[in-house]
């Protein structure tokens, strides 16, 4: 029943009626109240800066103060009009028109209008350092039309950019921001937004958000206060959560069943939905990794189930070679093609692939070609990511059985990212560092589309393995030009076929949104059955959507 609540987001009373059906009944005011505490390791104290375009503090202001035009669920791609009351693509998908919602007020009482939207987009055009999603790499212009329309034009069809533009850019008030001397360097200590909360108090160790009584979704939010303490490390954050002093968690907890759920079996829950792949990247410009057969042998030689179990305690599920997240994007997976290739841990298959590619095992059990070049590689990873180290141990052990020698190289994070982005590696372990999106397109494109890569030695925003395939690039371009869901599914199928055949990466495990919650005092949480938003407190702007759904039960 809750699943459909979002259709009614504009009519909050309807939402309320359906939500109350499950509890006691009553009116909006009856449920207002309560103090929720968020528990999310931030790695530092709060500096009380609330600039939504400052990458280091977005988590404290995006959504909660500054809202998007359209909320696009990261897990389900369900779009809900937010500050825009509607939007429309032109027939050629090169013009996108938003209608600014009327009746929305900034928290200082001024009216929100289409001017604010136009101002925001032109602000981040003028200051590229604020354009965190690089939306101006595809936009040509953003102008106002009529009284409440915002017209965005693109040089090429850019349908998938709807997500970064509509969901990821926070709209700021023109009447405040146009007066700022330096919108980049300003800390925005007194944030004025349209969001469901306003700033109560900020100290280095805690931020208090207070209910915005004039929020445009009337009756929402239910919560009176939200506390967001700063945790410098995982351990204290986990203790705080397990002791019941916080209700909404967003980090890894070792042995979660005993450590967290066991503390209060009736109320403590967790759900870790996959949001990206953690891949073994091949440098496809280097022999013999430029050989498809060798990469296919890797895909058979890596024991993904063991990697998930031993490396990630089973919390992060094993990856699959289509590159499409399961179960998050199951409806996109081409099961037929996947079973035709049948990638699973299979030493003899890996060995025979290598043998037919001309490799033979030498006396120490390592495969080598006729010239004596051994299949021996270094894989780079980040020192201190102990789960990745454990995973790579499994990867190395399983590949060894097929005659592939893999040596783990733990690098400092700076060194690692430098080498990863510039392509200075044989093998690399890690995920994309671009924002995942609400369909498999985003991750697949950043993994395989050569438009995202760069020459070796230069910083690539995606495709760290320097994989080049003009046919697959064309498929991504076609995807970008269509809003037809059937056509999109068909294109993703074709892309999966390339992924299965060419193996540009081996998805080893799936990274998840860590999410723990307690139903002791609050209800309305997103769950696997009702994934109305990506559930981690650091999923933005989904965090806002979760907060306006929560209400106190006791």
């Amino acid at each position: 029943m809750r699943r459909n609540r979002f259709l009614a987001a504009m009519a909050a009373l309807v939402v309320l009626a359906s939500a109350c059906g499950t509890s006691s009944g009553g009116n909006a005011q009856a449920k207002v109240g309560g103090t929720l505490t968020i528990d999310n390791e931030s790695g530092g104290l709060w500096s009380c800066a609330f600039n939504p375009f400052n990458g280091s503090v977005t988590g404290l202001s995006v959504g909660i103060f500054y809202e998007p035009l359209v909320y696009d669920n990261l897990l389900t791609d369900k779009k809900t009009n937010w500050l825009a009351s509607g939007y429309e693509w032109s027939p050629d998908n090169k013009t996108l028109t938003f209608t600014a919602r009327s009746g929305v007020k900034w928290s200082d009482g001024q009216d929100f209008s289409a001017d604010d939207v136009v101002y925001t987009f032109n602000l981040i055009k003028q200051h590229p350092e604020l354009d965190l999603q690089a939306v101006w790499s595809v936009l040509s212009s953003v102008t106002k039309s009529g009284t409440d329309k915002v017209v965005m034009t693109f040089a090429n069809s850019a349908v998938p950019y709807f997500f970064p533009i509509a969901d990821q850019v926070s709209i700021v008030p023109q009447h405040i921001w146009s007066a700022l001397k330096d919108p980049v360097g300003d800390s925005i200590a007194n944030p004025i937004g349209t969001g469901p909360f306003t700033l109560g108090q900020c100290t280095p160790q805690n931020i208090t958000y207070t209910r915005n009584a004039n929020y445009w979704q009337h009756g929402l939010p239910y919560l009176q206060t939200v506390n967001y303490p700063a945790f410098t490390d995982n351990d204290p954050a986990n203790q705080f959560l397990a002791a019941g002093q916080a209700q909404w968690g967003g980090q890894y907890i070792p042995s979660i069943d005993t450590y967290y759920v066991g503390k209060d079996r009736a109320h403590n829950h967790y759900w870790f939905p996959p949001i990206d792949n953690i891949d073994l990247w091949f440098n496809t410009t280097k022999a013999p990794l430029d050989n498809k057969a060798v990469r296919q042998a890797f895909a058979f030689g890596v024991d993904r189930n063991q990697a998930s179990q031993k490396g990630e305690s089973g919390y992060e599920p094993p990856g699959n070679q289509t590159g499409v997240l399961s179960p998050t994007f199951d409806s996109w997976i081409d099961q037929g093609a996947a079973s035709k290739y049948g990638y699973k841990f299979d030493v003899s298959k890996a060995t025979s692939l290598l043998q037919s590619a001309g490799f033979t095992k030498n006396s120490s059990g390592v495969m080598q070609d006729s010239a004596g070049h051994k299949l021996s590689f270094n894989v780079i990873t980040i020192a201190g990511y102990t789960d990745w180290d454990a995973t790579l141990q499994v990867v190395a052990d399983s590949l060894k059985q097929a005659g592939i020698q893999v040596k783990v190289q733990d690098l400092s994070s700076n060194d690692y990212f430098d080498k990863l982005f510039s392509g200075k590696f044989d093998l690399a372990y890690g995920s994309l560092n671009t924002q995942p999106g609400p369909s498999p397109y985003y991750e697949l494109r950043n993994t395989m589309d050569s438009a995202t890569t760069a020459a070796i030695g230069q910083t690539a925003s995606g495709d760290y393995g320097r994989y080049k395939n003009p046919a697959v690039d064309a498929l991504f371009d076609q995807f970008g030009a269509t809003t037809d869901s059937n056509k999109q599914h068909d294109l993703i199928k074709q892309i999966q076929a390339v992924m299965l055949e060419d193996v540009p990466v081996v998805p080893v495990t799936e990274g998840v949104a860590w999410y723990e919650w307690s139903t002791k005092d609050f209800a309305g949480w997103p769950t696997q059955q009702d994934p109305y938003a990506a559930p981690a407190p650091w999923n933005l702007p989904d965090m806002e959507v979760v907060l306006i759904h929560l209400y106190k039960t006791s």
């Binding site: 790695g43 104290l45 350092e129 965190l132 560092n433």
Partner: protein, 327 residues
């Protein structure tokens, strides 16, 4: 007087050397600050974001290293410490002030308590060596000091905070409080600081006891102590004025050093008790390649240690006339 002058000279040269090393060290590290920010977000930001940040942070500076060096020296003496990269756009001075009072308060107080208690226990143990007091207290405390700090701190946290609920779980004051000067707030600060302070004291006290007790025993065998006893002076006076005053000298230098290091905070304490302090900030600055913040913190630590050593030198000169005559 010339003794003090020589100490001052030494102070100036060391300070300059420290400043220069402080400037060079961070620049020898691989990688770029914006990339380092990625770590903090566990890969939740994209290279586009990194690029945006690099522009915002101005890390692609065209200045050569010599220009940077002189600008750095000038800024250091004018107190302009720059803008923190990790906490952009907050200034370094403001960022440091977020944590400095808490580090000073907690680690400073705990260090002083540990020093005073340790020295007293060491002195008494030596005075009555072989007695029950000497047989039990010093060995027990020294053994406890040898425990890993993490273990003791987690144990105290689990027992007193999680199980018995006597003390709060982490932070420097109640979450929803703001900093003010009411009794209620002071009470919060004390109850939040009690466990961290206790664990610092019990893990560091052993060192003070051991040094003090050993030096005291040697001192008690000196002729001037025998002379004092022969003169029939009160035992208390002999213990404090004759033996104690001389035996405390090595401990005093150690104390000055550790007071200097108070500035660097106590990383483990801060992590276990989620206490806001400079130690964790320093770690974060290093991880985040936050040159400005790193340099400011190293500078603070260097200056604090140098000043503390200088003060210890002056104190030693005052307590021990031999150092003055040696010049």
């Amino acid at each position: 007087m010339s003794y003090l002058l020589r100490r001052l000279e030494f102070f100036a040269i060391t300070l300059w050397a420290a400043l220069t090393v402080n400037f060079l060290l961070p620049r020898l590290m691989p990688g770029s600050p914006a990339e380092a920010m990625l770590v903090r977000f566990h890969g939740r930001v994209s290279p586009q974001t990194v690029k945006a940040m690099e522009i915002a942070l101005g890390v692609h500076s065209d200045q050569n290293i010599v220009q940077q060096y002189f600008e750095y020296l000038g800024n250091t003496f004018t107190g302009n410490l720059g803008v923190s990269l990790t906490f952009f756009p907050t200034s370094v001075a403001k960022v440091v002030m977020l944590a400095l009072p808490w580090s000073l308060g907690l680690v400073g107080t705990a260090t002083i308590i540990a020093f005073i208690l340790g020295t007293l226990v060491g002195m008494l143990a030596a005075w009555r060596r072989g007695g029950i007091f000497d047989a039990i207290l010093p060995p027990v405390l020294i053994i406890i000091s040898a425990f890993p700090y993490f273990w003791i701190a987690l144990f105290c946290l689990l027992l007193f905070s999680l199980t018995l609920n006597w003390f709060p779980l982490g932070f420097a004051y109640d979450l929803t409080s703001s900093i003010n000067l009411s009794w209620d707030f002071i009470g919060q600060v004390v109850s939040h600081a009690f466990l961290p302070a206790l664990t610092i004291v019990i893990t560091s006290i052993g060192g003070w006891i051991l040094t003090m007790r050993n030096t005291m025993i040697t001192t008690l065998a000196e002729d001037y102590v025998k002379m004092a006893r022969a003169k029939g002076l009160s035992p208390l006076r002999i213990m404090l004025q004759y033996a104690g005053r001389n035996a405390i000298l090595p401990n005093l230098t150690g104390f000055a050093m550790s007071l200097g290091f108070v500035i660097s905070g106590a990383i483990l304490v801060e992590i276990v008790f989620n206490y806001p302090g400079l130690g964790f900030m320093l770690l974060q600055a290093v991880n985040g390649e936050d040159f400005a913040l790193m340099q400011a913190l190293f500078l603070l630590i260097t200056v604090a240690v140098l000043v503390a050593v200088l003060i210890a030198d002056v104190l030693t000169a005052w307590l021990d006339p031999r150092t003055r005559e040696a010049t």
